[in-house]
Symmetry: C2
Subunit: 281 residues, 2 copies
């Protein structure tokens, strides 16, 4: 009877999956079982066809599926084919925004969460900030600490984006990957917000920019002194003040699909493993 119950439960809503999806799943299982790491290669298309006894089109759809999920990257040429990759943050954020596209997320909604997370994020980052990080933080501040009007309207938007970078640098230094991710998601959403709602009077922007520079400076100073609690406090203040400015630059997180082409590969402030040689291949 335990079995019956289990069977009944399992029977609910078992939609016949498409073969391509099953193959994609098999490949995932293959990745897990063979413990394939980023950089490892999948068998060639032809071999996969034989392995799963499916036709070319099916295996291609399966690979496409994995590619869209960001799990593999497919290349042409010798030793080409599917290669396991670490799912890129940008891809993940994009998929997430597809979801949020259908929700109705307001600026307040985002800031409610940000206010809760960001102080803890900053506090946790403080002990791990390197000299390099401080320089990056200061560079970010410097970028915003000068009149932007001379360069034209576009520059203002860039300064606001740079404000967000400040927080990304802090995020990168926090050892908690989940907290880090959560804040990076928020930062990305705010970026989108800036990008598509820049119909704000320049005066507003400037006032906001000045306030940001001031508090960012204070935060950096406290961080240099490794004063965790001070940083936390300042960030609370920052997160309380910021939404007031942003709200005046009103608007909802635009219900809008983020196109692949719009994902700028931002320069990550900090790699996962800081090595001497920047290994980019």
């Amino acid at each position: 009877m335990t079995i019956d119950r289990a069977k009944a439960g399992a029977a609910i809503e078992i939609k016949q999956q498409k073969r391509g999806d099953l193959v994609a799943e098999e490949i995932k299982r293959l990745i897990t079982e063979k413990d394939l790491k980023p950089g490892d290669r999948l068998p060639r298309e032809v071999e996969l066809q034989q392995l799963f006894s499916v036709s070319k089109s099916t295996i291609r759809e399966a690979l496409k599926s994995l590619e869209v999920q960001g799990l593999i990257k497919v290349t042409t040429g010798p030793s080409g084919g599917g290669m396991v990759v670490e799912v890129p943050l940008d891809r993940t954020l994009q998929l997430l925004q597809n979801y949020l596209f259908f929700k109705d997320v307001s600026i307040d909604d985002i800031y409610t969460v940000r206010k809760l997370l960001e102080p803890e994020l900053a506090a946790g980052a403080v002990p791990h900030l390197t000299e390099q990080d401080f320089e990056a933080l200061e560079a970010s501040i410097a970028c915003c600490d000068r009149p932007a009007s001379s360069h034209g309207g576009q520059d203002i938007v860039r300064q606001r984006q740079e404000d967000v970078n400040f927080h990304d640098i802090l995020a990168a230094a926090n050892p908690n990957p989940f907290l880090r991710f959560s804040c990076e998601l928020i930062n990305e959403m705010i970026r989108q917000l800036i990008e598509f709602r820049n119909d704000t009077p320049q005066v507003e922007h400037e006032r906001f920019g000045l306030a940001n520079v001031k508090i960012h400076k204070a935060i950096t100073k406290a961080a240099r002194e490794r004063d965790v609690e001070k940083v936390r406090e300042l960030m609370v203040v920052h997160m309380t003040e910021a939404p007031r400015y942003v709200k005046r630059m009103k608007g909802k997180l635009r219900g809008r699909l983020i196109l692949d082409s719009e994902i700028r590969r931002r320069v990550r402030a900090r790699s996962v493993a800081p090595t001497d040689e920047p290994d980019q291949e």
Copy 2:
């Protein structure tokens, strides 16, 4: 020179996109521009082929891409083809876990965030809880408020899962979609945790279960009294105590890809629009 800089910046790492990806993007643009809502249908495959002047295989890959992203559902038959759907939460969570698969998220990492969000979530939910919600909360508690040992080991795991449901019910009642999503993500991660690390002695489980029942009862009571601050306080306590138990049930969030077949369509505690008839097809 501004132009030069911009061009240089844009030139960095512009990878030639595959045609299929471009088509997928075009369809996304089509969805945005035509303001297609969930339920609306895309043109048929053949028409899309003509529309973008690509072959069958290319259009299929594009549709596959959108399907994997959860943006469309493709069906056979008359008036079949691609239909825009609201990206399912489960799909989103799965894609997210692909990302986290490569990170090394510990229980502490999750609880650090949970501790920050859950009290606010609960507090925000209180004014919106309906009688139906209270009943669901109490049912959830009742489910855990009896010895599980009689039914065998599997039942214990189910009770822990039910504990998480309690929080899902609260989440569903919070009007902030972003906060809601964040907590639902956490809940799902905890579920995964329970599912794959249930090598914990039964005594531990029971002790944890009892503690949960107690505090869940208190929270429900305070919520019934619409005492927002009390709820928040209690949840802080709950979030502080819980990780102690869970940590003893040690383990990392298993680095493990979640297979499509493992996505149980959980019964959502509350639909977006609560109807009289439970529409299950």
